[in-house]
């Protein structure tokens, strides 16, 4: 029987994985919740966010704060890209069959992956952890890297910030209203079209931010877009598509199931997470905190 401190450390490692996932999946969930668009290209925004952060650090020269500026610059650039995509292209597909939107966003995935290959080649890239967060501290008898600690704190902060935005501001009320009844909202004089653009930009920003923030702990490689989108989908499906706290809960559960699943049956790391998703889908097809469609 492993001792308690080890189990706590394992739980913490699962939580770290969960917070990274939440950062990425939150934008996917937000866009689906309001626009009812399943954005396949969210993984591409994540990948481009990582590549852009790398590029900005390269251009930024030496400076203690350059990593953070690069992260912010990458996320904002992706937000603008997202805004353009929504405004110029995606908008024409609202109200059409969902298949068109799915095909469209899948097309974006292919375009983005080829564009990234043209711009940055096929070799893997890597960034170092930013100055000030390179060390580790001893917690529960194991090491907790400071960058992981930062992510552990950032995840809930972003969750809280988004919650406040959605629940405590006028903009948030309008966004929630749009998710419920878009036509009524339009009749009441709200510019739903720009609201959608804004939400899509915010979702893209979160995807780009997630990509930029993983660069110190992951390699930047072609194919990272497709890898992450599968995990992000699992998280939002477990939590409930479009449910904000559901995504948070989904990520936390994903991390814990992964962390303890591999302790019990090491050979089943893939299996445990998919089994979790299957169970959730059987018991609550709309996800843990999601709402059944049509209610």
């Amino acid at each position: 029987m492993p001792d308690l401190s080890f189990l706590l450390a394992q739980s913490l490692s699962g939580l770290t994985a969960a917070m990274f996932l939440f950062l990425i999946a939150s934008g996917l969930s937000l866009i689906f919740g309001v626009l009812r668009v399943l954005n396949f290209a969210h993984g591409s925004f994540y990948m481009l966010g990582a590549y852009l952060a790398f590029q900005f650090v390269l251009w930024g020269g030496m400076g203690p704060g350059r990593f953070w500026w690069a992260v912010l610059g990458a996320a904002l650039t992706i937000a603008i890209v997202g805004g353009l995509v929504e405004r110029l292209l995606l908008r024409h597909l609202y109200g059409k069959d969902e298949l068109y939107q799915l095909l469209f966003t899948y097309g974006l995935v292919l375009i983005a992956s080829d564009a990234a290959k043209k711009a940055w080649g096929t070799q893997q890239l890597s960034l170092s952890r930013p100055p000030g967060l390179t060390g580790s501290s001893r917690v529960f008898g194991t090491m907790l890297p400071h960058y992981n600690l930062f992510i552990l704190l950032l995840g809930p902060t972003i969750a809280l910030g988004l919650w406040l935005l959605l629940n405590r501001t006028r903009a948030g009320r309008v966004i929630r209203a749009a998710a419920l009844d878009r036509e009524m909202l339009g009749a009441l004089g709200v510019n739903v079209s720009w609201l959608y653009t804004g939400v899509f930009m915010l979702g893209s920003f979160l995807g780009g931010l997630g990509g930029a923030l993983v660069t110190p702990v992951r390699a930047i490689v072609p194919g990272m877009d497709v890898e992450i989108i599968v995990e992000a989908f699992i998280v939002v499906v477990i939590g409930g598509l479009g449910s904000f706290w559901g995504t948070f809960l989904g990520a936390v559960i994903y991390g814990q199931v992964l962390a303890f699943g591999i302790l019990i049956v090491p050979a089943f790391s893939i299996f445990s997470v998919f089994a979790l998703m299957a169970v959730v889908l059987i018991v609550r097809p709309w996800g843990l905190l999601g709402q059944p469609l049509g209610t």
Binding site: A17, S126, T142, E227, L258
Partner: protein, 396 residues
């Protein structure tokens, strides 16, 4: 009247001759390889190596007086797509031979196509033993890559010299990861009795967060680690493991195969590389076993316009070299004759003498191993010194 019928006959004869003449002009080699997604990391440089070889051979007059044409197709890292493009290359482009594929899923799949069409297929990168296992072997498939048995056993030979007893392994959960880990474990147990495998971690292929796996591994208190995470997966793993203290906890007794010691990976990671661990590579521009290799590295550097040329190019290069030497030996481009010529063929490659073994169509390809040490002059880790482990003595 006579003149006219003569003309008709001549034209008809020419028309009959023409297609075969046009086909006979160039020797066409189909090159299905990953050019998009994660595997492009290896596919692209392997293609460049093959292209450089083809350009050189064509500049020197070709083979049998005929130039070689390389027809490249993207397999997208997907076995179904690899099969599709391989068929297309054979049926539409009328290629005479196939050289290519990267993954352990693509290689065996394309091998089946080669068998059906009776066309020589040389695999430069796929490592899974299954490609040339007795039940899968056929007269047309050959491999110039090291296989998983060779790689696993080479790593075990290195670790056997360490003063360690409790080993943990980590590898991606699919054919390559399982095969090479199994080969390592069985060989280390054989040549170093008393070692114990205390933990085995199997993250999925494409895992992006190894933290829970690393923590779980450290909980079992190993004193050495075997990893076969390749390419970007090793980069991600090492970046996450370093601040968790894994490398210190095992006193740098880590062997990372899957070419984690390649100049590409070392350069990507710069000062983030876990200096002091052992890595392997197919080639290294700073390795100087012979004047021939030095010359090759210089040509490649010029061709790729890169002062630190790729270690994967050699795989495309030797794959094509074996094919061309076999065509020369057979004096023909007939696949059946070339396949016979390849059996037991020994050639001088830039990395030294290589033989395609008659019994299993497998090259006696070893790899470079060495302790990864920072070279301040170039700013990234190099194998110091790079040692080629010749696998002949422990191949089955």
């Amino acid at each position: 009247m006579l003149r006219r019928s003569l003309l008709v006959t001549l034209t008809a004869a020419l028309a009959l001759l023409l297609p075969s003449y046009a086909r006979g002009e160039k020797i066409k080699v189909g090159f299905p390889i990953i050019l998009s997604g994660g595997g492009a990391l290896f596919g692209e440089p392997a293609m460049k190596g093959a292209q450089m070889y083809v350009e050189e051979i064509n500049a020197a007059g070709g083979v049998l007086g005929r130039p070689i044409e390389l027809i490249v197709r993207d397999t997208k890292g997907n076995a179904d797509e690899a099969v599709r493009v391989a068929r297309e290359l054979i049926l539409k482009d009328n290629v005479d031979f196939l050289v290519g594929t990267v993954t352990s899923a693509e290689g065996p799949a394309v091998s089946v196509v080669a068998k059906e069409n009776k066309i020589v297929f040389i695999a430069p990168i796929p490592k899974t033993d299954q490609l040339t296992a007795p039940e899968k072997l056929h007269p047309y498939v050959f491999r110039v890559a090291a296989n998983t048995t060779v790689e696993g056993r080479s790593a075990a030979e290195v670790v056997a010299k360490w003063n360690v007893k409790q080993i943990a392994t980590i590898g991606p959960d699919y054919a390559y990861g399982q095969d090479v880990t199994r080969a390592f474990v069985s060989w280390i147990k054989k040549i170093k009795p008393g070692v114990e495998i205390v933990d085995q971690e199997w993250p999925k292929l494409g895992e992006s967060d190894y933290t829970p796996f690393i923590n779980a591994m450290m909980g079992k208190k190993p004193d050495a680690v075997f990893s076969c995470l390749w390419g970007g997966f090793f980069v991600t793993f090492a970046k996450q493991a370093k601040p968790l203290g894994l490398f210190e906890a095992v006193k740098l007794n880590v062997i990372a195969v899957g070419e984690a010691g390649s100049p590409e990976t070392a350069k990507t990671m710069g000062s983030d590389y876990p200096f002091g661990i052992w890595g392997n590579s197919y080639d290294a521009f700073y390795w100087h076993p012979s004047p021939a290799h030095r010359d090759y590295a210089e040509r490649l550097s010029k061709y790729l316009k890169d002062p630190y040329p790729s270690s994967w190019a050699i795989q495309g290069y030797t794959g094509m070299q074996f094919l061309v030497e076999a065509i020369k030996k057979a004096g023909s481009t007939d696949s059946e004759k070339v396949a016979k010529a390849l059996l037991g063929l020994t050639i001088d490659t830039p990395i030294g003498r290589q033989t395609l073994r008659e019994k299993d169509h497998q090259a006696d390809r070893g790899q470079l191993y060495g302790k990864m040490t920072l070279d301040p002059a170039i700013g990234f880790a190099v194998m110091k010194p790079p040692t080629y482990i010749d696998p002949s003595r422990f191949m089955d």
